[in-house]
């Protein structure tokens, strides 16, 4: 596997050069979840070392140009934050409160 890019992977796949992250799509973005996603774990990606949040957002099956809000490990993050092994990226549309 090359050293750049964002790849959807299975739970068991492993690569030393790649960083493994989980992605959760929330709220109306649930409609874009792949049918085999794991509700608890999210669905898994392997990304090249140095991959930023924005790179993954661009690769996700969500509408481009939307007003995406995202958290990394439940916390506020910048679009250029570099993802680390085991990070959880949560993405949802900016919709408002309750």
């Amino acid at each position: 596997m090359p050293g750049t890019g964002v790849y959807r992977v299975s739970r068991d796949s492993r690569s030393n050069e790649l960083v493994r992250i989980a992605v959760r799509l929330l709220a109306s973005y649930r409609q874009y979840l792949p049918p085999d996603h794991d509700e608890e774990a999210g669905y898994l990606y392997q990304v090249a070392d140095g991959t930023q949040v924005g790179d993954v957002l661009a690769a996700l099956p969500i509408p481009p140009g939307g007003f995406h809000t995202f958290l990394v490990n439940g916390r506020h993050a910048a679009r250029d934050q570099v993802l680390q092994e085991g990070d959880l990226l949560s993405v949802f549309p900016a919709a408002g409160g309750g």
Binding site: G66, A95, G98
Partner: protein
């Protein structure tokens, strides 16, 4: 006058006298909107130190200049009074159909003074107002009350009323309109009960002329076009209503769990939007003329979920899922929906009710109260115990009498006020302040206590509407919270709903600037507000409300949070996080032009033209 009738209906319940009063265009602009006129009525007409459940308290129902207009979500009203739960101000807001019909009955505001000797209800039909005997309604729930009043008046009336909780002066009682909508917070239902006022029924088609309806429709078209595009793109609010929020708050670790002991709930997937949609949703509903229709009309089918949970109604909304769900450790959506239906029928605020029961559950779990006081076990997660407590609270039977007092009185009476998750004795909405510093500052400083509706900074600190900012930083939060308090005052005062107004009538991309809402107000009323002068009008309203608190005896010491917020979050993404109020409170007072005790300075009041109220 445009956008306004310029008429207040003043009802003296002690004497039965009903009279019309007028207000001037100048007053409606200076004391902006329904919320502004209402606080003026209170400051002019009562002693803020009065006992809230005495006849001296005034109860104001106020529509805004955009209520009943074609403005998207121009369908809200405010209930403004002195709160029996907090002794501070009540500023409860509700939608549905009642606010529109109230305005069309020919009045902008209703003011109730005194107390009736026996139960009455007010019926207003196009400026014909009468008090009617309500003895036969006393004891009925809100649905029975509405149906009975409709039968006695007209098919097309809209009704706001109290249930048994308000009659029994439960301090967490709501005023319910159109059966499923609530002006819920801080015990406004008990004020109605103390006045022996069971219901208000309105009908009519009197609409104030608009200053420039054509121009107004142009602005509305623009807002609606944007809204329609969002709906087509799969609007979250359309698909799930507010029930989508648990997934987000749980992810961020701010979802109240076990009475705010934790910020993540293991049972969240069972009480979230997809669960509600898949198993309970009948159809979408909405307030009068709303293009968004975020309400969920739901049903719990007894044959599937158990007869004890069977029922139908609206909701639960996010706040109810938090307070009657995760805060109580309840992961059963059927039970939460049933609890929600019961609160609406009995006339209880779901937030304060849920968090008071959660407080009791914590006290039970920690051995502070036992079965001998409660009459049954009440551990976290006990959905049936929760439902039993709701019924008992409305009737003030057994331990329900203690639940009916709200969590602060309950916890304090057993020597554990730290288990009451309140600010100014009002229970928190479902956002943990430790993870959202603007929200924490809002809860601490709000003139009504902990309410998200007083300036929901989670829009930017969590949801990222317009711009996503970090909820965990303190920098700039003093100014942010002040700004949101003013923005929400504008929306309230105008008679709009926050959900649509924030997204479609503000310029969120440039810092929540009230662009379209200013234009709508100007076109409706003939004012010449700019976004800046409208914000200043909102600041005037906010300071008047603060003066009410100052006169009621509130000080800096009251601008604080539940003790738990100052202790570290034990787990989750916010592990170790606390709320450091000292880092922001002085900055907030400075931003407001208030002194170090939180009292508006003469200088600021003069600038706002209200120094005579100091």
């Amino acid at each position: 006058m445009h956008g306004w009738h310029g008429r207040i209906l003043r009802v003296n319940l002690t004497t039965g006298a009903i009279r019309e009063e007028t207000f001037s265009e100048e007053e409606a602009h200076k004391y902006f909107g329904g919320r502004g006129l209402a606080i003026k009525v209170l400051l002019d007409g009562m002693d803020p130190a009065a006992d809230p459940l005495s006849p001296e308290n005034l109860l104001v129902m106020a529509t805004g200049p955009l209520t009943s207009t074609p403005a998207p979500t121009g369908n809200r009203y405010m209930v403004v009074t002195k709160s029996p739960l907090t002794s501070a101000l009540s500023n409860s807001n509700s939608g549905g159909v009642f606010p529109t019909m109230m305005k069309r009955s020919g009045y902008d505001l209703f003011v109730f003074e005194g107390a009736a000797g026996k139960p009455v209800y007010l019926y207003v039909d196009e400026r014909k107002a009468e008090l009617r005997d309500a003895s036969h309604l006393w004891g009925l729930d809100t649905h029975q009350t509405e149906d009975t009043v409709r039968g006695e008046t007209a098919e097309d009336v809209s009704v706001a009323c109290i249930g048994p909780a308000g009659e029994n002066l439960a301090l967490i009682a709501a005023i319910i309109n159109d059966k499923h909508r609530a002006a819920a917070r801080s015990g406004v239902g008990a004020v109605m009960g103390s006045k022996n006022l069971k219901a208000v029924a309105v009908r009519g088609d009197l609409r104030p002329e608009l200053y420039d309806e054509k121009a107004m429709r142009g602005v509305i078209r623009e807002a609606n076009r944007q809204l329609a595009a969002d709906i087509r793109a799969g609007s979250t609010m359309r698909i799930y209503g507010t029930s989508y929020v648990p997934d987000v708050t749980n992810e961020a670790g701010v979802f109240p769990t076990f009475n705010f002991q934790y910020g993540q709930f293991e049972g969240t997937p069972r009480i979230n939007g997809p669960t509600l949609k898949e198993h309970f949703l009948v159809r979408h509903g909405g307030c009068y003329g709303c293009p968004l229709a975020c309400a969920r009309i739901t049903e719990v089918r007894g044959e599937i979920w158990g007869e004890k949970y069977a029922g139908a109604g609206e909701g639960p909304e996010y706040e109810t899922i938090g307070s009657l769900g995760s805060a109580c450790g309840v992961d059963n959506m059927a039970a939460i929906a049933k609890a929600n239906y019961l609160c609406n029928e009995l006339g209880l605020d779901t937030i304060s009710t849920g968090l008071t029961i959660a407080c009791a559950m914590e006290m039970y779990t920690k051995g502070i109260v036992g079965e001998e006081q409660i009459g049954q076990p009440l551990p976290f997660g006990d959905a049936d115990g929760m439902i039993a407590m709701i019924r008992a609270a409305a009737r003030r039977e057994g331990f329900g009498d203690e639940i009916a007092q709200g969590s602060w009185r309950l916890a304090s009476s057993y020597g554990h006020p730290e288990m009451s998750i309140t600010a100014k004795k009002l229970e928190f909405p479902s956002y943990d302040a430790r993870g959202l510093k603007g929200m924490g500052l809002l809860y601490a400083t709000s003139n009504i206590g902990a309410s998200h509706m007083a300036g929901d900074t989670a829009y930017t600190e969590l949801f990222g509407v317009g711009k996503k900012i970090d909820g965990l930083t303190y920098e700039g939060k003093a100014e942010l919270t002040k700004h949101f308090q003013e923005i929400f005052a504008i929306i309230d005062a105008a008679g709009l709903c926050v959900f649509v107004a924030v997204r479609y009538t503000l310029d969120t991309a440039h810092g929540y600037i009230p662009t379209r809402v200013t234009e709508m107000i100007n076109h409706a009323t003939g004012t010449q507000f700019t976004p800046d002068t409208l914000l200043e009008a909102a600041e005037r309203v906010y300071n008047l409300e603060r003066l009410f608190l100052v006169k009621a005896g509130f000080t800096r010491a009251d601008d604080t949070l539940a003790q738990r917020m100052f202790e570290p979050m034990p787990a989750g993404p916010l592990q170790g996080e606390t709320f450091d109020l000292d880092r922001v409170l002085d900055d907030y007072y400075i931003a407001r032009g208030w002194d170090a005790n939180g009292i508006p300075t003469r200088q600021r009041l003069e600038k706002l033209g209200i120094a005579h109220y100091a």
